[in-house]
Symmetry: C2
Subunit: 366 residues, 2 copies
């Protein structure tokens, strides 16, 4: 069935690294493309090819002899993927889906056209669009393509401070947020779907970066149902194959709005490595190889903390002195604000879980 299937991944960052770890269990033949020979996955594989995932020729050269191709970043050359799909490479998610998701404007249009609740938005092409009276006094300005980890996102309170607009953006309504949530769904080519328990994400306002996340999120059964059915609708409407992360806002007036979607394993699913029966990485492999999806049951409550290069390796190792703490380092050179790893804390007792998370934070801050 999948004997000797050659599976390629565009990108060699931490998501590729964790896909590689999952694939090594089954001894899958995984290939990676990244422009950095020292990228995160580099020390775990002999199948890293050097090339730029945004360059047409590099992606074609990498992909043309593969059976299946997936991505660990949405910032890839979609034209090349379309060509590869035409010559018979199974590209998951489909290039047309990646094309929608890599552009926050097309994403928003997709939500709007399919009655998926999301915040109000306008397309912004130039300074004149900003100055129009259609926009509220304060709004969120997001670059449509290429932003990540909060980069390319600005909260605008005084539009006169904006000098000029060079790239297509969207302006989004500012939402009164009660909670930021995410749910990871998966779908294989047979149409089987599965969902992990939703997580609550807590952000560091200074860096606009995820500070920690808790799974399961504290939600009502009805709210969980909305997250699942919305995600299922997105998966099925897009004829999606792979793992999809859907980020939601729970508004202060109790509405659930889709913020954005990611066509790949996601930071909000790292806890599944220790905290669920199947990790989001194994689930990705199962989905794109059209294997039955793994069980998604939660093993116990988890908190995941991103490591942003703010502490020392010595301190990272010290956190392991607390029971149920798992360290993941991505083989990246630390710099302030760079995501170089994560820590997952597991504990069936929610109070002890938070106590241990606090202790981990204290060790990291030393």
């Amino acid at each position: 069935m999948n004997d000797g299937v050659k599976l390629g991944v565009l990108g060699g960052g931490q998501l590729a690294r964790m896909l590689s770890q999952a694939g090594s269990n089954m001894n899958l033949d995984l290939y990676f493309l990244d422009s950095d020979p020292d990228c995160s996955v580099s020390n775990l594989t002999k199948n890293l090819k050097i090339g730029d995932v945004t360059k047409y020729q590099d992606v074609i050269k990498f992909g043309k002899n593969l059976d299946v191709l997936t991505i660990e970043t949405e910032n890839v050359n979609v034209e090349a993927l379309k060509f590869l799909a035409k010559i018979g490479v199974k590209v998951y998610p489909e290039p047309s889906v990646i094309e929608i998701i890599q552009d926050k404007g097309l994403q928003k249009m997709f939500f709007k056209n399919n009655d998926i609740p999301t915040s109000l938005f306008e397309f912004i092409y130039n300074k004149a669009d900003i100055e129009s009276n259609e926009l509220p006094a304060a709004f969120v300005l997001k670059v449509r393509k290429g932003g990540y980890d909060g980069k390319g996102v600005t909260i605008i309170k005084d539009r006169s401070t904006i000098n000029d607009i060079y790239k297509p953006h969207i302006a989004e309504q500012i939402i009164d947020i009660s909670k930021e949530l995410a749910i990871i769904g998966a779908r294989n080519a047979n149409g089987e779907v599965a969902f992990f328990d939703p997580v609550e994400m807590v952000f560091n306002p200074q860096l606009n970066l995820l500070d920690y996340l808790v799974c399961p999120a504290n939600l009502t059964t009805d709210q969980i149902t909305i997250l699942r059915t919305t995600t299922q609708k997105i998966l099925e409407t897009l004829n999606y194959v792979g793992v999809l992360a859907v980020e939601f806002f729970l508004t202060k007036d109790n509405r659930l709005l889709v913020n954005e979607i990611s066509p790949r394993p996601h930071n909000s699913g790292h806890h599944t490595i220790e905290g669920a029966y199947t990790s989001q990485f194994e689930q990705t492999l199962r989905a794109v190889l059209n294997l039955p999806l793994g069980p998604t049951n939660t093993i116990a409550d988890t908190i995941t903390i991103n490591l942003l290069g703010e502490s020392t390796s010595e301190n990272y190792m010290k956190t392991l002195s607390l029971k149920g703490v798992y360290l993941h380092l991505y083989n990246k050179i630390p710099s302030i604000g760079r995501k170089i790893g994560h820590i997952t804390i597991i504990n069936p007792n929610r109070n002890r879980l938070f106590e241990n998370a606090k202790k981990v934070k204290e060790i990291l801050a030393k």
Copy 2:
């Protein structure tokens, strides 16, 4: 603390492979020594050195620049390890402990001298020892050094069939066995100990190889206490650092006898990857790096099935269609009777667990 610690492993087989996978989470700098450039770990590391773990010079050359050295097989050159320990390399378990364990005769003497219950035995050096009247009519003949996976073990019913004895052996009393059990213990240099839940091992009589194992074993609280206290006594008497597997016989008259011990992760602990909060491989790394041991709680009941090259890759992948089935392939070329992987099946419901194990067996037999 362990920043940049260079950790070496003697051997590059499947245990090394799974240690490498565990180490990659923490991005540990792991080095491996094996004479086969295509050994199990070879496609997961750039730090495989080629050399023979039984050769003095090869082990010295490999180990002299390492900080910590451990083993994935007991058949290693102990003299070299003693030298390395003298020049300051931390060798865990200690060479003198490996020396005892690699020789089934010394192991038996260790049990006897420390009042650890085990079956009766005699040392056999030559044919005359076999012919002595000290031995019962039927007995088990075991080569003292170098046997593995049932190799070097023979049940003797008619001693006239034995041609000659070239290597030191032990003759062991045949035990009326009710169950074969194993427990994995761990101890770090601080003296912290931890135990996984015991497992029951079921053997294939044709191949004298483990057929499947169930965790947790169906035992009384008193029996579990005996397994734990006996293992703790062994760990502490040997001043042991690392992971130790202790195999027990439960006799038909309800005694628990130690069969043998292994100074490394063990086939009877593979289920811990999915079935316990910490895997035996991460536990090994924690123990030898003197980190606090991880929690050993069982997540759910598991059955582990060894893959002995009897089926096809296609069938291995097909087993993934059953819920809660995890495939581990070791990057080994299949041949009949060669352990090339294992399958772990997890299910909180014991009946469904056995049903799924039966279905896996049926798929493998096709």
